[in-house]
Amino acid sequence: MQTLTQQLANPTRFMGLSARVLPWAWAAAAVLIAVGFYLSFFDSPADYQQGETVRIMYIHVPCAWLSMMIYGLIAVSSFGLLVFRHPLADVSAKAAAPIGAAFTFLALLTGSLWGKPMWGTYWVWDARLTSVLILFFLYLGLMALRAALEDESAAAKLTAVLALVGVTILPIIKFSVNWWNTLHQPSTDFTSTVDPSMRWPLIIMALGFTLLFFAMHLKAMRNEIMRRRVKAMRAQVVAGRDRLAASGSAT
């Protein structure tokens, strides 16, 4: 009896399954985000201190959550590659990196745009903001390292090692607001400190963004599998041409 992970280890099986799941994932993400947008703008109150600016929270928090979750996924995939040699682990890690970088960039940008009217500054070198900036550079580093190496197998292993070393940034980001004095607010307890009129739009947006990432990641993995197939087929064509040329010169 194979586990789900073992079943998905076959890229062809993964392609078949992901083709069936993908339209539903896109649709569910679109519906949740549309509902979330409506609730964020039209069915949630202004904050008693922040006023209307609180509406930035409904996109900033999901982007910040994804920036960390995606890095966690890359770390798990890297572990899967180095320890279990799972054939799709590297595909997953490679596909997730640019998406993670984009959401981390958005978390930094929306946080900065939220900070200016609330704190009076776009940026301050405090623990939370700086550690998220380091996370962004880590994503760029993972992509740059992979792009710099021609040998795909060596690139996969080295990138996986860097991803696992870099995972130490996640607890630093999470607890930075407790360990150091920072302008950023402390961790929020959603069950008690956020009013339900704001909590539900935020939860729906976070779910919608998570599903959106799930769909994007599946699509990016499919693209990467196809790219590897194209590369193998090109090598096959070149090898066939060489064989033909060799037999032609022999006769």
Binding site: T12, E52, A102, T110, R222, N223, V237
Partner: protein
């Protein structure tokens, strides 16, 4: 809809998220089509995938 004195910060935030997410989706769709077209072209030239017989 009146978003108060800081409306520009709110609109720019939402616009940035919309643009970046739309660009990501467009890139994924475009990249997928490019790989599919390259695979089709190689199959026409006689290249075969190892999993060609498998159900997809």
């Amino acid at each position: 809809m009146d978003l108060g004195p800081h409306a520009a910060f709110i609109w720019i935030s939402y616009a940035a998220v919309t643009i970046v997410v739309a660009a990501l989706i467009a890139w994924l769709v475009f990249d997928g089509r490019r790989q599919a077209a390259a695979m089709e072209e190689l199959e026409k030239r006689g290249a075969r995938r190892r999993s060609a017989g498998a159900v997809e």
